[in-house]
Subunit: 231 residues, 2 copies
């Protein structure tokens, strides 16, 4: 069995990578990162660093052209200032959160499926994606939901003669659970980047920084990335 | 309602375009063509000609990098000679037909969904795809099947806050039915290209040429593209 990990260089996907390497061995695991015009492009260099740490093959693709008309606040082309509030707060005002990127996970999973099916020439491949319960608790990101993953899993399995399967190991788990699993697997969280801002170190105020800090705190830990970046 | 048509410059997708323009008006319709490294890249210039004929906005995207490792005989990088037999014949030897391109329709639908959701900024959009019963009768292309479309439709609808819907108007219809519908809508079939070969005119021998000729014959017609190309 081969595995391709959708890697953003963030906490969740890096923990996915650790889980896959632990299960299948690094020689059977690759990472794929996709540039879609995100403002926090630093995550791509983190994805490279993480792939290097685990000594796995790493591939990058560019989907920015597809997203060029999107008004998402998460895109580098956006002039919006990010809201500094939790998703639960944001969703009260607008069901479509400002950092939603059009069908992002669907596009990434499809790109990974096409790539993996070509790379491994029709062998069985698992595609890992790090979505978890907190992404969907307030349904801020519909393309992280269990129903979404279920439908994409079915589409990809049917569309690839049953060869490519989506694995979402953290579905139903919280981000605190993810940190717990990752800590037991000694994930190098100091290499990972989650913040949506463009600073030298995590802002500590955006929705994803808030969630990340809480997940470490729930495990009695302080996020090592707070010390490793922006020295 | 807006519509984005996945246009290959071929018979099925051009008929889709005609159906959408007839239903919604040309000002609400756009075409999207995706280059994925196909050997018959002529279809892209046909897609442009067809968009010009219908006077709709036309967009092109490049996904060739994603497919670069695929051994599909349909790719320009392939050194294989295409089998000159029907899909029904081909499938007897190998369930994975040589012209299968990894998760192609899944990737294209996802690209169209991301693009359309960005372009129309969260408005309701229908994405048309020209799959039909003959594509799936022998299950040569699993990413044309009814179950596949159903799963992708669900994934895209969930993943875009319910805004983007897949429309596959020819599901359950034969290619002969498509020609019948298109003929009644005066589709300029002389502008369309289906052949998988790289010739100046359709080869008449590849699986898709065979299917196309039969579809016209079933309507008592001769394919006008046989006269319009390669003069």
């Amino acid at each position: 069995m081969k595995a391709v990990i959708l890697s953003s260089g963030g906490l969740d996907s890096t923990t996915c990578l650790a889980v896959a390497v632990d299960k299948l061995g690094k020689e059977n695991v690759s990472t794929v990162s996709i540039f879609y015009g995100q403002r926090h492009a630093r995550e791509l260099s983190c994805a490279r660093a993480v792939a290097e740490f685990y000594d796995v093959n790493h591939y990058e693709f560019d989907a920015a052209e597809i997203m060029k008309n999107s008004s998402s606040a998460l895109l580098n082309s956006s002039t919006k200032t990010l809201e500094h509030s939790s998703y639960a707060e944001q969703i009260k005002n607008n069901p479509r959160v400002e950092t939603y990127v059009p069908f992002r996970n669907g596009l990434m999973l499809s790109m990974a499926a096409s790539f993996a099916d070509g790379l491994y020439n029709g062998a069985e491949v698992e595609i890992y994606i790090g979505v978890h319960q907190d992404d969907t608790a307030v349904n801020a990101y519909p393309d992280c939901s269990e129903n979404f993953i279920k439908a994409m899993r079915e589409a990809i399995e049917i569309g690839t003669y049953g060869k490519i399967k989506i694995v979402a190991p953290f579905l139903g788990k919280t981000k605190a659970d993810v940190v717990k699993i990752g800590t037991s697997l000694e994930v190098p969280y100091e290499l990972t980047w989650s913040c949506y801002e463009r600073g030298e170190k995590p802002c500590g105020k955006c929705a994803t920084c808030i969630d990340r800090a809480k997940a470490f705190a729930a495990n009695g830990l302080i996020d090592p990335a707070l010390k490793s970046f922006g020295k």
